[in-house]
Amino acid sequence: MTNTIAILNTRAPFSHTNAKEALDVALITGTYEIPTSLYFSGDGVWQLINNQKPSELAVKDFLKTFAALEFYDIEEIYVDKPSLEQRGLAANFHIDNVTVLDELSFANSLKQHSIILSF
């Protein structure tokens, strides 16, 4: 059996280091050819929202790294639709290839993976 890994992001990008640390794990599992998918729900959806300027907070702009995910073979990126709606956000992301899923499809897709890590 081959493991596939889902990384569930539930926190906004800057106040915790979780977002960056989750991304670091994804880049490595991608590098090691473990099928890796990213999921964003709750405040995690803020990680993908367009026009953020981390440098104004003197935070390294690790959000730019999301655009390189394809080179790590990470092409499955999912966002929970209700989480966007609750925050009044449009599906306006700083990377392409993001799929917005309704609540049930999001849960079903996530739970297909043998390993789920949440950050």
């Binding site: 670091d24 880049l27 490595i28 991608g30 590098t31 050819e33 390294k60 702009d61 690790f62 730019k64 790294t65 655009a67 390189a68 080179f71 790590y72 073979d73």
Partner: protein, 110 residues
């Protein structure tokens, strides 16, 4: 440690990586390579420029696999093989090319 270059002092870490990547210029690359006894050819330059561009775009230095995948799109299959890259940079293309491109040392993790 530090390098003196064009009447400027450029700080590096113990392994020769620049501490501030904005201080880099193309003239600095051969000097950085010299400390590893490496003479840069046009083939090296292709990789160095590519790695630097990758860093400036994505704010991360590519690990070897991402490097080969990204280079494939730009230079084709042959130049994107890790064998080709290791021939150019025997100590590891991700490590060495980033150093001469003035980029931060890739995380110990990778």
């Amino acid at each position: 440690m530090a390098i003196e270059f064009n009447q400027q002092i450029i700080e590096t870490d113990g392994q020769g990586y620049l501490l501030d990547h904005t201080q880099w210029s193309e003239e600095l690359a051969p000097i950085l390579a010299q400390t590893d006894d490496l003479t840069l050819t046009e083939s090296h330059w292709e990789v160095i420029r590519f790695v630097r561009e990758f860093y400036l775009t994505y704010n991360t230095s590519p690990a070897i696999r991402a490097l080969t995948k990204a280079m494939k799109a730009e230079f084709g299959e042959e130049k994107a093989s890790s064998r080709y890259l290791y021939r150019l940079f025997p100590e590891g293309p991700a490590k060495q090319a980033t150093k001469y491109a003035g980029l931060p040392k890739p995380a110990r993790c990778i």
